[in-house]
Amino acid sequence: MGLSFLNVFLLGGMALVAVPLVLHLLMRRKPVPHAFPAMRFLLARAQEKKRRLNLQHLLLLLVRMGLLLLVASALARPVLRGSRWLAAGEGPVAVACVIDTSPRMLLREGNRTRLDVVSELAADLFATLPEKSMLAVVDTSGSGAAYSPSRAAAASRIKRLTAGPAASSLPEAMADAARLLESAPLERRELYVFTDRSQGGWEQPVPADWDQAHPGISLLFVDVAAESPQNFALTDLQLSAEQIAVGRPLTVSAATRRVGPEATRSVAIELLNGQGDFMRRGEKPVVWREGETGQVRFDLNGLEPGLHQGRVVIDGGDSMAADDAIDFTVEVGPSPRVLVAAPEPIEATGLFFTEAVAPLPLVKAGRSDFTVTLVPLADLETEAWTEFLGIVLLDPPALRPGTWGLLRQWVSQGGGLVVWLGPEAGSPENFNSPASEVVLGGRLERVWRDADRTNYLAPTALDHPLLAAFRRVGDAVPWQDFPVFRHWEFQPTSPEQQPAGEPASPAIPVVAYRNGLPAVLERRLGQGRVLVVTTPVSQAANDPDAWNLVATGFEPWPFVMLANEMLNHAVASQDDLNISSGQVASLRIGRRDLPTATVQTPLGDTFPVAVDQRRGTVKVTATRQPGNYGVRSGGDVGGVARGFSVSLPSSATDFRRLSDERLAAALGANHRIVADMQSLVRDVTQERVGAELSGWLLFLAALLLVIDWGVSNRFYAPRHGADPEIGAAVAFAESLDAGGEAASLTPPPVPPRAAGPALPPPLPTDFSLPTEPQS
């Protein structure tokens, strides 16, 4: 809010407030001195009277000063504006319009999208701008902030705005616009934010100190939300796996969300064929209930080896198309080969693990998730590691540094290593070496023993991808039935001690024991992963020196899940097959002789990208458009064909309105928001032109005048009750005018006490003194 004056020079009249003050100080009545013996009767209430007298004088002084101040202010014609000092009426103004261009803004109501509404409101806003104003349109697509050359150009730009995944949040766009405004040479700067007040739009609130950080900018929010929207939405698509083995089913699930009355609408799953057309592979009717979130799930079987792209789609259209379909990409191929190295005899020591990840019945049926090759640890280096996506070391002894070096090189190129540590490690002094520490990301400290069988695996948080499968089970996993008697205490290497060279992350505990020490640790090493488990699964149940019953307890299904998930996580592709809009997609081409690749967007456009020939990967950064992308390199024949899918984040389509409380929390308690054309124009007018306050000030001045009259009459009214015969002074004054009876009260000049004898007045004729009695 700002206050300005149309007649600033008349503010000089405020100096008149000094007049009552000067009169009060200088023209104060001097008290008339009188001798008065009966002062004792005054002393009782003297202090109280004096205080009251001072207060009365002060009150009258303030009232009169305030009266003059109000009159002077009213004559100066004060104008209240939203902000900024405006000395001379309507001047040019720098205006920036921040417009939310997320897909939510495509929500239709009354056959108008939110962007259409923005365009109309902005046109009216521009019409109110003074001449020579500067205009800028800033959207959330990350296209940069710059002033438009003219008002028409700005309006045209707004009309051409298209919705798409946001590259920046609204607060970030506001900050860009604020920087642009602060560079403007004009004194007045106004920022208008067009928003649908949605939860998705304000996940990131406006900084609380925005006003303080940008004191020269007037901020106004313009609400363009739909009054009563209706929508069917698909969100949060989940795949059972992005890369599946041939013959394994693919499970696709998505969340359904309804805004509006209950309705029934089918959801279908479709796959792209070779001609680029979607072929429907399944359809399910779904009952959409108001405000409820549901799940729809499809199982796809018999997928041919190769790349498959498809979508989950709602049958029929609605008021917002952006959330009616979600695309996905999945690759089908042979099951990954895993090399498992175990101590002799490998048939016994490797049994539990191989049966957990590749059960014999599934292997025979050709439906196993992994193809396992079990070898003695001594023969580890004799295998061709390049044929395997994963290596599992079961209870390894101290390896020689050369072997650790080979493992480091293999993992760095994308391999997945899982190490189950056990008694074969011997002593930490023997096992630990710089080479082992580079691969494992830590060192063995000591063996922990738990004689009373109260220690077991106890995962606390299940948010790690490795534990994703356990989320469905939750607390029902009977980890306590599989005690751990001994385990290694593993000390991760601190980030400062990480050796230079291949980029690596420190080992992070993923699963802990009940005693709090880490059971499973994970680290990134180059393009691959290393998982370390600090207790073995290679000992028989009847082994008196068994370290645990993890794999040998009764119905050890948690171990089976954990072993599969760990191996899946270790050998999982590093390719980004399904990403959110705006993320960078990284894909392995698998060949290092191809310099470039061609990316085909969902809109059919193509553009080239360079291949990182050292790593054999390609990165695609232009991923704002949701849909299925194709990446080809090396030509149609003999070349490489990959692909990925881009989906919108749920916030991009979440147009549910924020409550007033949450809106105040997001925009700040003092935010100003308008919702329609009249409010916008009125607010803008009041902001820019202001509201004259002269009338109110004159009213207040009149009020003060009345108060002054009342107060002064009350304070200085004659006290009739205290004067038994009215005021002697009043009578005295009357006697001067009239003479007569009142004159008897007239105090004549006091004769000198030493004056000579005065003659008595003439006695009345009818008055005679009685004669004295004669004795």
Partner: protein, 299 residues
Amino acid sequence: MPRAVEEYLKPDVVQQIARLDLRAKFIVKGFLQGLHASPFHGFSVEFSEHRRYAPGDDPKDIDWLIYAKTDKHYVKKYEAETNITGYLVIDASGSMGYTYRQQLTKLDYSISLAAALCWLMVHQQDPCGLMVFGEKIQASLPARSRRSQIAEVLSLLANVKPAGTSEIAASLVQVGAMLRHRSLLMVFSDLLAEPTAVRDALMRLRHRSHDVILFHVLDEAEVRFPFQGMVELMEPEAGQKMVVDADAARRDYVAEVEQFRDEYRGFCQRAGIDYVPLDTSMPFDTALMEYLLSRQGRL
């Protein structure tokens, strides 16, 4: 238009008589002139009643006219035969010399009134004495009933000047100690002193069987507080100064004075003292009437 007799009992008229003896005579004569219909006929030393002659009576008092008519001896009875010894006790402190806009100060007023009472008493054959006090007894005359006593009293009163502080209580105690016989004490004072001590002193006088008439003389300004606007008041005895808004303070001041008088009035009623509140604008007949009523009650 001739003035009423009462007009001549007003202080501003009396003030014009410079000689105190004339002033006293003027007051009394004027007062008696106004008592035509009053129940106080026969006052003075004139004939009051007859009674049968008894041996030992002065033969010169035999009323021969009655004897001629009735052939019996009757003697005239005079009021003067029932004498009351009166003392005029006058406060001559500095505060008594105050007036704001009246013709007479409180002391002048008291002296005029005392002179009139003296004149009246002596003419009734009542012995009349005088005591003047300030901080202590300054002057005194023993009570006598001879005519020359008037001149002596008036001579002393004419020379009284207000000065110093007032020690009313101590002075009254001293007065009580000086009087050996039951007397009528007519005290003239503004009583601007500590009330408790003054009351104690008055009680001691009553305890000695003295009759007391307390003439509480205040200036008209002290009663009505006629000042206006901001005034700086100074207490003459102590020199204390004070600035007040007279208009705002008047109501409370008058209430305080009334309360002060009421307290004295109540005390005097309980103690058997005649309390006569006066101010210097009031006619003298009020005080004289009070005296006469008091005297009659004591006969």
